[in-house]
């Protein structure tokens, strides 16, 4: 049973207060996109063994969506941040780099590489 800090409430909320919302930082493709783009947007999910960025909602709480950077092998949480972002904040990326040198996830990676 995970605990994640809601960046809006500042509470360490346990999993039963939260709803999991899948992969973070998806780019929406609507009319005008080709079949491949639309397919990838809807179905092609990152499924990494290790660093993952995902969405959660503080459903039984403030109701806000936020992002978490988490390791799927150890459940370590590198940090949480507001959902209104196109990419993880540098501070979070640095934290991950410190703990998982050489990490990469989609277009994001250890900048020191």
């Amino acid at each position: 049973m995970l605990i994640l800090e809601c960046p809006y409430c500042g509470v360490k909320a346990e999993e039963t207060e939260l709803a999991s919302g899948g992969e973070a930082h998806l780019k929406r493709f609507g009319p005008g996109s080709d079949d491949e783009q639309f397919h990838d947007y809807l179905f092609m999910r990152e499924n990494p063994k290790g660093v993952h960025f995902e969405r959660w909602r503080h459903a039984n709480g403030c109701g806000k969506w936020f992002h978490a950077a988490r390791c799927t092998m150890t459940m370590e949480v590198f940090g949480t941040y507001a959902a209104q972002a196109y990419e993880p904040p540098q501070e979070i990326k640095d934290k991950i780099t410190a703990k998982r040198p050489g990490w990469s996830w989609r277009e994001f990676s250890d900048a020191s590489e």
Binding site: G30, R57, M75, V77, A83, K99
Partner: protein
């Protein structure tokens, strides 16, 4: 025989005698007894039968690791099978019965399996009963299943008489185990100011230190324990809980505590078990160690016990398990048992020490008492029977020849100790093999990792592999400080109490006694008592290629019994390693899974039973509905009346009555469950244009529009009427149960995709009671209410036309009236404050009397809409249906560049002209089509399945039309009007139906537009 001693028994109160029964026999014990100690005091050594061979079994341990002494406890609604006698506190009126035998414990027919044991080896059933095939199903399997299980199942109608609850608690440091290590660790952690919770599974504190002796800070362990408990109780930051087992460690510092509140006093009131759900920053496992049996032939005969457990029975409960005892060991600790027995007046026939060099000062002390100690010797076999009678002794380093036989009625055995590493391991803590002491211990470099990526479990004391009293206390103090520091409390150095006990010589691993025991002995040498797994079984598994430890476990069932291998795992691993010519750590362990010790399902479920099993959502009119014949239908968490059944009326008749009355007179529907969302802001129109497939931004203030929602994947997800309230405010109705999900859906898009759009959404569903006033007399009843109140809003056709809404007063109630219709009748949906909902309903019922008003339920709602060909989300849709399938193209805005689902509809399968489309269906004979029936096509597909060309989505008897009507999705349906297609029923009949227009009633819509 086993008897109560005149002296000893630190846990019992001899002034309080307690009566109980075992297998119907009346017996006596004392307050403080466990059921096991009380049975032993009554010379009841045999306490059960094993699982497979039904061999007689006695108690072998004194704690939760006990595999044999399992009882059926209690009666009626407090009955429970498989309770360990060793962890059951004796109480007055306790009734216990032994398990897994017929007709009696002493004489058990299935002990024939014991005679057949040569055939019934590990995995025999995988190799047998294969031919002929029918015999497996009809003969063999029924026999195997009949003989399965341990205790009798509770009665099929049993309703648990007890209640259960949960409790959330937060601590900086949780200490699991209230032995001297746990107490010492708690003290060290608490000194730093950390908030500490200590859990102890027993009703007494201190663990086994008081039995094992030695001194702590110069005091007896008992005295020291009393003192430190007092200290801890005096600290505001420390919570001590006894009868509370740390049952599992989970991710991110989650610990479960299983508190048994009334098991020792059933029926005293209050919850029976409380499941503590604790979030800890750090967890200290001070869970002690468990003694290992020795593997010799006949090591399962009643009277063979773990040496330290035998000592427990003498010291803690003043019970003497036998008169003449043989002690067998590979380590020094068992000598303590010899000394304890001797002191209690029991004859120690022999100490058989497998080590050639023997032990240290404890051995000398034993010899000084005149007890015969034999080195390099082993037990060759214990004579089979319901009780130990004879023990054969031989050289350890041989095959079991040249035996000397001695008379004895009990055997104390010690194969060394294994730290209890379960809680360390539950969440991924790794182990390391300690070669010297021959056990797995926690590897401090590989602890389970918490949310911050750092270790969150610290092992302490013997659970950490420190067996000597002095080392235990030092390790525990260090663990306490370490945990507090890791939890963010700079450690105050707390000096460990000084423990002094006898020096012990090294143990010597002995995995088989004698070392080269022949196959006949190995086939009588038990590893797993409860599941009847023997040394020969593990060797067979290895020989057959089941080499992985998990294969061996599963093939032999080693460690899969209710003790989860607490006694058998290491011994079995060692035999497996030996068979494979590998080292034990290479073989590894099986996975440790929670719970440490079985916990009640009741406790896991907690308070959620009966009335509060799940929330029932109630509308403001719920109680009235309930009192007026509502036949309830669960819709999500809501309950809605399916129909209002009058006394003696069937559901079917009630529905027909409601349908007709609503069409002819006046019906009321409690529509409060429909979701109501306010969407407001400068970008609200733009936003709703994305949410709905049709255009909402152009809706005029005061008007309503029916809207469709699709998921991004193109499927219909919800529908409802949207009303424009003012320049930047809309009110969106959702389906019942849609309020929360659509609210969430809107927030998701606003927060995560279009966060710069200025839109706020609020869910006001429950602010209102909403009543649909439906039927030709709808306007009349509302106008009557207004007349009675001396005025109110103008509800005329002109002032409030179809698909518009107005605020005002109706019958003196502040109300919002929507002129919308889901029935094809003249209809108003009126929203009033929920707190006034019942009063408004009452007023309508009263005023409606002269118009023959009747409430109607969801089934009538369904039929009325089906007669009109309106679709229903959840009936015509099922998550695979797109608007085009339902001929709803008109609701897909072509003007909008984008809306959720638009892109999805362009994919090839969604644009496929062969998709099944909505039509009406009329049976040729007027009967009702079966729900969910499929229309048969020509031939079969490549997998031999009948081809199908459509299916029924809704089907009803229409009281209005006096016949069956249905809607369905049919391949090329709209182009096949008038065709008759066939629906095979599951009743063997073929239903023939004609494809028709889905609007069955009032095709021109004259009735709603009056």
């Amino acid at each position: 025989m086993s008897t109560r001693l005149a002296k000893q028994g630190r846990l019992i109160d001899r002034s309080k005698q307690i009566d109980f029964t075992f297998n119907g026999k009346r017996m006596q014990g004392y307050a403080g007894d466990s059921l096991a100690s009380a049975l032993l005091a009554n010379d009841q050594m045999m306490m059960g039968r094993s699982f497979k061979y039904h061999r007689p079994r006695g108690v072998v341990a004194s704690g939760s690791e006990e595999p044999n002494a399992l009882m059926q406890l209690g009666k009626g609604d407090r009955y429970e099978p498989n309770q360990r006698a060793t962890t059951t506190e004796l109480f007055s009126g306790l009734t216990a019965a032994s398990q897994n035998h017929w007709p009696s414990l002493e004489f058990d027919v299935l002990s024939i399996n014991n005679k057949l044991s040569r055939f019934l080896t590990a995995g025999f059933y995988y190799k047998m009963f294969i031919h002929p095939r029918p015999l497996w199903k009809h003969v063999y399997e029924p026999i195997i299943r009949k003989s399965a299980g341990l205790g009798e199942a509770p009665d099929k109608e049993l309703k648990d008489a007890d209640s259960y609850e949960h409790f959330y608690f937060f601590a900086d440091v949780v200490v699991v185990g209230g032995g001297v290590a746990g107490l010492q660790a708690a003290k060290a952690a608490a000194a730093s100011g950390a908030k500490v919770l200590v859990m102890e599974q027993n009703s007494h504190w201190g663990g086994r230190a008081p039995v094992d002796g030695g001194t702590i800070d110069g005091d007896t362990p008992d005295a020291w324990i009393e003192k430190i408990l007092q200290e801890l109780r005096g600290m505001a930051n420390v919570t001590l809980r006894d009868r509370c087992m740390g049952s599992g460690v989970y991710d991110h510092g989650y610990v479960l505590g299983y508190e048994r509140l009334t098991d020792h006093a059933p029926g005293q009131g209050g919850p029976r078990h409380r499941l503590w759900r604790v979030r800890a920053s750090q967890i200290i496992t001070a869970t002690g160690a468990i003694e290992r049996p020795l593997s010799f032939a006949g090591n399962d005969v009643p009277g063979v016990m773990l040496a330290a457990s035998m000592r427990d029975y003498v010291v803690n409960w003043g019970v003497n398990p036998g008169q003449k005892v043989v002690v067998a060991t590979n380590n020094d600790d068992a000598y303590r048992t010899a000394l304890t027995l001797h002191e209690a007046g029991v004859e120690v026939v022999r100490v058989v020490d497998a080590r050639d060099t023997g032990g240290g000062e404890l051995m000398e002390a034993v010899r000084e008492k005149g007890i015969r100690v034999e080195l390099g010797r082993a037990i060759a076999r214990v004579k089979d029977g319901p009780r130990v009678t004879k023990v054969a002794i031989c050289a350890q380093n041989g095959e079991g020849g040249a035996q000397e036989e001695v008379e004895a009625d009990a055997v104390a055995m010690s194969g060394g100790w294994s730290p209890v590493v379960h809680l360390w391991s539950h969440c991924g803590g790794k182990l390391t093999w300690d070669k010297e002491q021959a056990f797995f211990r926690p590897d401090p470099n590989r602890p389970p990792l918490g949310d911050n990526g750092a270790g969150f479990v610290v092992a302490a004391g013997s659970a950490n592999g420190n067996l000597g009293l002095g080392a235990v206390l030092e390790d525990a103090a260090a663990a306490g400080s370490q945990a507090a520091e890791a939890a963010g409390f700079p450690a105050k150095s707390v000096a460990a109490s000084k423990g002094v006990a006898e020096d012990e010589a090294l143990m010597q691993p002995v995995w088989l006694m004698p070392a080269k025991a022949d196959i006949k002995l190995r086939m009588k040498t038990w590893l797993d008592y409860q599941n009847d797994v023997k040394v020969s079984d593990v060797q067979l598994a290895a020989r057959e290629g089941y080499e992985s430890v998990e294969h061996t476990k599963r093939y032999t069932t080693l460690g899969m019994a209710t003790d989860q291998g607490k006694l058998s795992n290491i011994n079995g691993l060692a035999i497996l390693a030996d068979s494979l010519g590998a080292e034990i750590p290479q073989v590894g362990t099986t996975t440790f899974r929670p719970p440490y010790h079985p916990i009640s399902m009741g406790a896991i479920g907690g308070e959620a039973r009966g009335e509060i099993f799940q929330p029932v959502r109630k509308t403001p009119i719920y109680d009235w509905n309930d009192a007026n014949g509502a036949d309830w239908e669960p819709v999500g968490q809501w309950r809605r009346p399916f129909a209002y059944c009058r006394s003696g009326e069937s559901r079917h008749d009630a529905v027909n009555r409601e349908v007709k009355n609503t069409r002819e007179n006046l019906g009321l529907l409690d529509a409060s469950t429909l979701g109501k969302l306010i969407v407001k802001g400068p970008d609200a129109g733009k936003f709703l244009d994305m949410m709905y497939t049709n255009m909402m931004s152009t809706l005029k203030i005061g008007k309503c529009r029916y809207g469709l929602m699709c998921s991004e994947n193109g499927f219909l997800s919800d529908d409802g009427v949207v009303a424009r309230i003012d320049e930047d405010t809309w009110l969106c109705h959702t389906t019942t149960g849609g309020a929360e999900s659509i609210h969430g859906h809107m927030e998701e898009w606003l927060q995560t995709e279009w966060w710069d759009w200025k839109v706020y959404v609020a869910n006001v569903t429950e602010q209102y009671a909403q009543v649909a006033v439906v039927g030709p007399k709808a306007r009349k009843v509302l106008e009557k209410l207004n007349n009675q109140a001396g005025g109110g809003m103008d509800l005329s056709k002109e002032a409030l036309p179809f698909m518009e809404w107005r605020d005002g007063q109706i019958g003196g109630f502040n109300a919002r009236a929507y002129r919308i219709s889901f029935s094809g009748e003249l209809s108003y949906e009126i929203a009033v404050a929920a707190s006034e909902g019942q009063a408004f309903w009452d007023a309508l019922m009263e005023a409606g009397k002269e118009f023959n008003v009747m409430p109607y339920g969801t089934e009538t709602l369904h039929i009325l809409r089906a007669e009109k060909g309106f679709i229903m989300i959840g009936d015509e849709t099922d998550g695979t249906v797109i608007p085009q399938d339902l001929n709803l193209q008109w609701a897909l805005s072509k003007k909008k560049e984008d809306y959720l689902g638009k892109r999805a509809h362009l994919r090839s399968h969604m644009a496929d002209p062969d998709r099944w489309k909505l039509v009406g269906l009329e049976t040729v004979d007027g009967s009702v089509l079966p729900d969910g029936a499929y229309a048969k096509g020509e031939g079969v597909n490549a997998n031999g399945q009948q081809n199908v060309i459509g299916r029924v989505t809704s089907t009803y008897h229409s009281a209005t039309l006096g016949r069956g009507i249905a809607m369905g999705l049919v391949k090329h349906g709209p182009k096949r009007m008038g065709e008759v297609i066939e629906f095979p029923g599951t009743d063997g009949k073929i239903y023939k139906a004609k494809i028709v227009d889905p609007v069955f009633y009032d095709k021109e819509g004259e009735k709603q537009n009056v």
